[in-house]
């Protein structure tokens, strides 16, 4: 550690101002060591790696616009009479929260735009996380060493949903108030403690005078604070682990191939922030969202038809609408299964998503690091699980919007609800089977391409009159790319009797693991990739077919 003064290579006086500033900062913060590792860090290129960026940037946009909105929003449920510039509501009683939201929309210049950007960015944020998680899931990017980052991302998704919910409840309009009432009903269904939680959350009976102020602090401070920490942790881990990449020539599990952060990704990723922001601003200019003035202030005895939550709550809405109204009364108590089961299912599904990386790691028993992404077809069971989940999600979205399906397509609401109740069980199973078969077919096609070459489209007539299509052999790059994936062998329980003839006790978990492993990697659940021997035999022995 030599000081600047004694270091002959650093001449203080002549250095440009930027360099001097950097030296100053390095002496206090050690930025050079940080920059050495990161300034020219390599990031691989693939369109799907951009999805996470969409989430990050929309999150930043939400924070920027959210801070602006707090300057004008009054999180209070005090009753006021409206005297603002929106004529149809003049003289109406409403809460200060609703009043100030109208003020932002009509009197603050650009206030409506910022409100709409904030709301649209929230929808993009949630949609982005949804798709980003699917990318990570289907390519197996959640495997070791990235399981913790999967959990960080998962938490961001869950917290994002609740931040969104508390956010759109703040204006205290008729639609969001109905959503809050729904939440109260759901909380009341929780056995033993539900009634108390509801009274503590609402400061007494619903709706009370407190929930807007409480949701406000949850929405602008508590949840985003946690999320900001998680986002930073998520990004630090992305840098620390280095990004995953798809298999390809020169790309191995021990390197990362791409372009450097400075300048390429600085410009591309930095520019992408502006692209996302610009696109959302343009959407906010032309597409109206949550026109609370048309909906009116909240009244617990009023409701409009076609009431819908924001889309990311659609799954919960579908569960609650499709569930039969089961209620059990015993010993002076009521078990509200019709509401509580959907609530529990919602939690169970979320936990299953969080735990999936650990379940798959347990089944494979693989403890190595994975930096090369799977093509979805090469992990048929995982891909089929993911597809089944998405299908299930869409069934519930239909269930959540059953009234809109009924009115828009002139269908019976009862028929749609029954369809959802049956599809809830049937559609995921069908999707699983179909997806798995498609994956296996694609694996066969890859195998065929490697062994017999690609179809050239050239028809050749042989001397004896037979027509054949000429297949062209693949380049080594293509051969490598198509055969680079690992294939696991199913785990076996092993001999249950040892050399002395004493029977060993086989644990239930061991059996389950062997069973799962067979379902993932057993015969018929993956197509053996071609070997070099097979390739040589076909290419040298018999020529092309």
């Amino acid at each position: 550690m030599s000081t600047t003064a004694s270091n002959p290579t650093r001449s203080r006086g002549k250095a440009p101002a930027g360099e001097k500033l950097a030296d100053w900062a390095d002496g206090r913060l050690g930025i050079y060591s940080l920059a050495k590792a990161n300034m020219r860090k390599i990031f691989p290129d693939h369109w799907s790696f951009m999805l996470g960026e969409v989430c990050l940037y929309s999150f930043l946009i939400i924070i920027l616009t959210g801070v602006y909105l707090t300057l004008f929003f009054h999180p209070s449920m005090n009753e006021v009479v409206y005297h603002g510039s929106y004529v149809p509501l003049q003289g109406q009683l409403m809460s200060e929260a609703f009043n100030s939201t109208l003020h932002i929309s009509f009197e603050v210049r650009g206030g409506l735009l910022i409100r709409q950007i904030h709301h649209w960015a929230a929808l993009v944020f949630l949609a982005g996380m949804f798709v980003h998680m699917m990318r990570v899931f289907f390519t197996g990017a959640f495997r070791k060493p990235r399981e913790v980052n999967w959990l960080f991302g998962f938490l961001l998704f869950v917290l994002g949903m609740f931040t969104g919910f508390t956010g759109y409840s703040l204006p205290d309009d008729l639609l969001s108030g109905t959503g809050v009432r729904f939440m109260e009903g759901a909380i009341l269904s929780v056995p033993i403690i539900g009634t108390y939680i509801s009274f503590f959350l609402f400061g007494g009976e619903f709706p009370g005078h407190d929930f807007v102020a409480r949701f406000y602090s949850i929405h602008i401070l508590l949840l985003p604070g946690i999320m900001l920490g998680l986002v930073v942790g998520h990004l630090i881990l992305v840098f620390y682990h280095k990004h995953t990449q798809f298999a390809g020539p020169g790309k191995t599990n021990n390197n990362v191939v791409g372009m450097p952060l400075l300048p390429v990704y600085m410009a591309k990723a930095g520019g992408f922030f502006f692209l996302v922001f610009g696109a959302i601003a343009a959407i906010a200019a032309i597409a109206q969202i949550n026109p609370i003035w048309a909906i009116g202030p909240y009244r617990p005895d009023q409701v409009s038809t076609g009431a819908q939550p924001d889309w990311y709550m659609g799954m919960a809405e579908g569960l609650i609408r499709a569930m039969p109204g089961w209620e059990i009364n015993f010993w002076g108590h009521t078990l509200v299964l019709g509401v509580f089961i959907p609530l529990v299912l919602f939690g169970v599904v979320l936990i299953a998503i969080a735990l999936y990386p650990f379940i798959e790691a347990w089944v494979t028993g693989d403890k190595r690091e994975h930096h090369i992404l799977d093509r979805p077809r090469n992990a048929p069971t995982r891909t089929a699980f993911g597809a089944a989940w998405i299908a299930w999600y869409f069934v519930l979205l239909v269930g959540g919007g059953n009234d809109l399906w009924a009115t828009h397509f002139h269908l019976s609401i009862n028929a749609i609800t029954w369809f959802v109740r049956i599809a809830f069980f049937v559609v995921p199973v069908l999707t699983f089977i179909v997806t798995k078969r498609i994956c296996l077919s694609l694996q066969r096609r890859d195998r065929d391409k490697v062994l017999h070459g690609r179809e050239s489209g050239i028809i050749k007539r042989l001397p004896h009159g037979e027509f054949i299509e000429v297949h062209e052999p693949l380049s080594q790059e293509q051969l490598y790319t198509l055969t680079a994936h690992h294939q696991y062998e199913p785990v076996e329980i092993g001999p249950t009797v040892d050399e002395n003839g004493v029977e060993r006790k086989v644990k239930g978990t061991e059996k389950l693991r062997a069973k799962l492993s067979r379902a993932y990697y057993g015969e018929g659940n993956q197509i053996a990739k071609p070997t070099v021997e097979e390739y040589k035999e076909i290419t040298s022995g018999h020529g092309h077919h």
Binding site: S85, G110, G185, S189, G194, G250, N253, A282, A285, D301
Partner: protein, 353 residues
């Protein structure tokens, strides 16, 4: 777990280990990694004129952004805030919102487009490779950390002096309870609040829209009337929202012969029945009425109740019938309640029974 570990030889070969930077076509192993393909030049790398064109495009995009920001400022200053314009196919929309949003959108988007175009056409696109290093520490580091930890733990003597350890654990376990107690005043306790509404014997039924007490002749067949208890005023009443959330009532007139439920008939007045408007599912106000069938439907989750049969659930996720309010007429001929609801209104809860 260790008994279930997969033996090393069962796992596929260490990925990447077998392939070094093999560059020439491999006769032995045609599936071997051929290494990074050679860099292919872009037109901008070869032709300076193309590079100049790219430069001009990028600069143009940045310039458009500047102009758009000026447009934003101009719109902010000169467009009246309440002006609406017709824009096909959006219809009549706020001119200010449209102008500000589009100019801001263009200003931002062009910065992004310029930067990305710059990166894609003018910055080096040669692919580079970085080495990866295992995340886990080397065995030496691991041993050192474990040893350090043991040393530190030993020096603290936490293992040797269990009294300190146990009292510390006790203190740390207890201290969060203060926080828990601080949460107690978040709200009052439920007590019997969910069981009672404002309705009581002698309370008149007041029309929600006209604010006038209702007479039996005001309720016509086939219409759905909403009512609230007499004395519940919206203006200046802090508890209005909380009270109406429980007391909201809907009234219909049925032919007494059409009423299938015996108790419903007893609690009605000349075929006029009054039911809680709050859905027993999760508390939405019910507002859709089908005259022919006497069904009411909650627009939130489509629970359907048959008002001619004790408001029992005939479809949807609600778990029990809507509570009925017993009504009659007072000496002046106005509809009045003959008591509070006999069961809690709204969604079910654990203590409901």
């Amino acid at each position: 777990m260790s008994s279930q570990d997969i033996p090393e030889e069962k796992l596929p070969a260490e990925p990447g280990a077998a392939h070094g930077a093999v560059r020439a076509a491999d006769e032995e192993n045609p599936f071997a990694d051929p290494g990074l393909p050679p860099h292919e030049h872009r037109i901008q790398d070869i032709d300076e004129r193309a590079a100049k064109r790219s430069e001009r495009t990028v600069a143009l995009l940045f310039t458009v952004s500047m102009l758009a920001t000026l447009g934003f400022i101009a719109s902010y200053v000169w467009i009246p805030n309440d002006k609406s314009v017709y824009i096909f196919p959006l219809g009549h929309i706020s001119a200010m919102n449209f102008a500000l949003g589009l100019t801001l959108g263009v200003a931002l988007f062009c910065i992004g487009a310029g930067a990305v175009h710059w990166a894609r056409t003018l910055m080096s696109d040669a692919e580079l490779a970085d080495e990866r290093h295992p995340i886990e520490a080397s065995p030496e580091v691991r041993a050192k950390v474990h040893a350090d930890f043991k040393q530190g733990a030993k020096e603290s003597a936490i293992g040797r002096r269990p009294l300190i350890r146990n009292t510390l654990l006790g203190a740390l376990t207890l201290v969060p309870f203060s926080g828990l107690f601080l949460l107690r005043d978040l709200g009052s306790l439920p007590h019997e609040k969910l069981r009672h509404t404002m309705w009581a014997k002698g309370k008149r039924l007041v029309n929600m829209n006209t604010n006038q007490p209702l007479r039996p002749e005001d309720i016509t067949t086939g219409s759905l009337t909403f009512a609230k208890p007499d004395g519940l005023e919206e203006e200046g009443n802090e508890e209005y929202q909380t009270e109406i959330a429980k007391a909201a009532l809907m009234i219909v007139r049925l032919q007494p012969d059409n009423i299938k439920d015996k108790r419903e008939l007893e609690w009605s007045h000349q075929g006029i029945v009054a039911y809680s408007k709050i859905c027993t599912h999760v508390g939405c106000p019910i507002s859709l009425y089908e005259q022919q069938t006497h069904h009411v439907l909650c627009p939130c989750h489509q629970s359907t109740f048959d008002l001619s049969d004790g408001a029992r659930v005939i479809f949807g996720p609600a778990g029990h019938a809507l509570p009925q309010l017993r009504i009659g007429v007072d000496s002046e001929g106005y509809l009045q309640a003959l008591g509070d609801f006999e069961e809690p209104v709204g969604p079910a809860f654990w203590e409901r029974g």
